[in-house]
């Protein structure tokens, strides 16, 4: 008789999910699914709220990427109320997004992903974690903790609150950046840039090469990709631009945020609370890892695949190395980790550019004379896990009447399921499995995390 392995909870990810691996009589995998176990209901409980309050509510969708939700929501609210942002307000928001990304990517690489690579996927769970990393390389671990902390605290000091931010407001930003603050942050960013360059070199020279065999097979399947690009030259954008949806062969559609409904549909399966977005134009969603239909991925690897170039020079050098090795698009799931570090370099460089822009310390940081009105807005930004789409409608009093949200993890629901299925089928044969094998299945999910 067959049996089910219930891997719960999925660990070293942000969020709640479990994996059920179904084995047939011969001990081979008949099916494997990732179940998302709850439904919080943000789309429902923002109804009736004043739209300018929503950016202070939807932050709680994710404690790791609250800035991205805060900013996507602010953009949608601006549009509902018909507000044009002064350039300084726009740039302060983008600066905060870059600054929020930096500690996030450091956290994910060293604390969540690295245990699998540095200590190895077969290490016992009691050491395969951040404490194990500290034991294996205490000097580097201390540096990592310090750099991440420094990045968080810089943003907190300037913006008031780093986890669940408040400083983005309808019309722009709640306060200006003073000259002495600018200088202090710039010095910190330069230090973080050096650390980021150290990190990507360390990763591509000492960490990834040992696991290239795993990279080539684990959780791999062909899919499409969704990301944001700069309309003028197709460069990778994290804060603002147009959406680009690429198929598995590299052909793409590019569209404005407000057109998202023409390209993305959402499907429901009976075994997960989370819906399954799919690319509408490619046909009805088919969750088959050998012949997927409609499946696209979001998050770092997707952005690196859809972009024509990076937006900053050192990140571009890294993209050249990456593309030379893996081509475009590449479907190797574990490369999410590598792509994440290329973006880390761009975030540091872009933050530096913004801090050297004279407009950043301007005093027109927020639009004036905003009035409530009936309206509609779609606000997007790229979050660690993927594109955030916040779509609101308001009544005459500026109260929310409709909210449709498609967020990072949701885009990746179908691909995470396919990666799990692919990994489980490839790794579990004739009833043979152990902790290390099951951890490798989870590694296929971890790649998609922030």
């Amino acid at each position: 008789m067959g049996k089910t392995l219930n891997i719960a909870p999925i660990t070293r990810i942000e969020g709640h999910a479990s994996v059920a691996i179904h084995l047939d009589d011969t001990g081979n995998v008949s099916d494997a699914k990732m179940h998302v176990l709850s439904l919080r209901g943000f789309e429902q409980f923002v109804i009736g709220r004043p739209v300018e309050e929503v950016p202070r509510i939807v932050t709680r969708i994710c404690g790791i990427c609250p800035w991205q939700h805060h900013l996507a929501s602010n953009k949608a609210a601006d549009e509902c109320l018909g507000v044009e942002l002064p350039p300084t307000g726009r740039k302060l928001r983008e600066l905060c997004q870059m600054m929020a990304y930096i500690p996030d990517k450091i956290l994910h690489f060293y604390f969540l992903a690295a245990p699998d690579f540095v200590l190895g996927p077969d290490a016992d769970y009691s050491v395969r974690n951040v404490v194990g990393i500290i034991g294996a390389n205490p000097e580097l671990a201390k540096k990592v903790v310090h750099m991440r902390y420094k990045a968080q605290m810089m943003l907190e000091k300037f913006s008031g609150k780093v986890i669940h931010p408040i400083a983005g407001v309808v019309g722009g930003f709640s306060k200006p950046l003073l000259e002495e603050e600018r200088k202090e942050i710039l010095a910190g960013i330069q230090e973080l840039k050096d650390f980021s360059i150290f990190t990507i070199k360390f990763a591509r020279e000492e960490v990834f090469p040992k696991y290239l065999d795993a990279v080539k097979i684990l959780g791999v399947f062909p899919s499409g990709y969704l990301g944001t690009v700069r309309p003028s030259d197709g460069a990778l954008e994290l804060y603002d631009g147009e959406l680009r949806l690429m198929d598995q062969n590299g052909n793409y559609d590019q569209f404005k945020y407000s057109e998202y409904m023409d390209y993305i549909g959402e499907h429901t399966e009976p075994w997960s609370y989370l819906k399954f977005p799919y690319a509408k134009k490619w046909g009805q969603l088919k969750l088959d890892e050998n012949d997927p239909v409609g499946v696209y991925r979001a998050n770092t690897l997707a952005r690196i695949n859809v972009c024509d170039k990076m937006a900053t020079p050192l990140a571009q050098e890294e993209l050249d190395i990456f593309r030379k090795a893996f081509g475009r698009p590449t479907h190797l799931t574990l490369l999410y980790h590598w792509a994440r570090l290329i973006e880390l370099v761009q975030c540091c460089e872009r933050a530096e550019e913004l801090l050297n822009d004279p407009e950043i310390t301007g005093r027109e940081y927020r639009a004036k004379n905003i009035e409530p009105r009936a309206g509609e807005g779609v606000g997007c930004v790229e979050a660690a896990r993927g594109t955030l789409i916040h779509h609101y409608k308001t009544d005459d009093n500026g109260m929310v009447t409709m909210a449709n949200l498609i967020v990072g993890t949701t885009h990746n629901n179908a691909p995470m399921n396919l990666s799990v299925k692919q990994a489980a089928k490839a790794l579990i044969k004739d009833g043979k499995y152990d902790q290390g094998i099951l951890n490798r299945v989870e590694m296929a999910i971890r790649a998609y995390d922030p």
Partner: protein
Amino acid sequence: MTKVTVAEEWLNACAGCEIAILNVGDVLVDLLVNNLDFVHIPVILDKKYFGQTGEEKELSIPEAVVGIVSGGVRNEEHKEVLLEMRKKCQILIALGTCATDGGIPAMINMYTEEELKQFYYKDSPTTDPAEYPTEHIPPLLDNCYALDEIVKVDLSLPGCPPHPDWIAGAILSLLDGKTDYKMPERSVCDACPTIREYKKSMADIKRLYYEAEFDPEKPLSDMRCLLEQGLMCLGPVTHVGCGGTKGAPRCISARVPCRGCYGPIRKGAKPLVDYMGAMASVGFDPAKMPDRRGYLARFAGAHGVLKKIG
């Protein structure tokens, strides 16, 4: 010295509390190496509920001296995990406002499950209408609950997220053998340096699309109280602590009004009623406040505070 065993869980949560734990900063490395032994913490440790190969039938969490739980209780699995944590941990800490008061996700208590699912699975403009999922997923509860509505809680650290000062304070106090760590029961206003004139400005009640009046070159102590400026600041009815043991309230530092993320000042407080008094005391007509429940119970919808509109 022997390490203290700790188990940590997140329920109807966002991971912000766990990031706040990391924001304890450089001290954390020493604590992890010398003082704390995490036996279960899904965000960083691969300890599983059903055995490491997923073959056991009963959910199990290892025994620990200290249990930390973030998030409220929204589905059957959260409840099962919380009961197991209570059973296995000597001291249970509710971390964050979701755990202590329901937090933002408890705003769902204003709506029925049918309303929620009707939009999410049928009416959403991008969704192909479908039957609601039911297989291999835990049923939702009728409400989102705070932890103390389900089990006994020994120590409460509210905040969205809790300031690292309080997290470190509680941990160090427990390591010292003390189990009665408590945050001060005061309001955000008690930690707020802005100028109060105890009278109303000429303005009417203002929503968040109005900017506060302030001089960015000058400190907070030169800015007029935001409530007196008419900005519906929830400081008077909100638990102090967002700025840590010494700092100014965080929203005020960003020159925006408080929205109550540390929950009510004390257990059993009625922010919906108390705030009316605070508004009246500076001369505003509370009846003119829009979306009262959405402002005043935004973080405190558990304990029956928010009910179905129906």
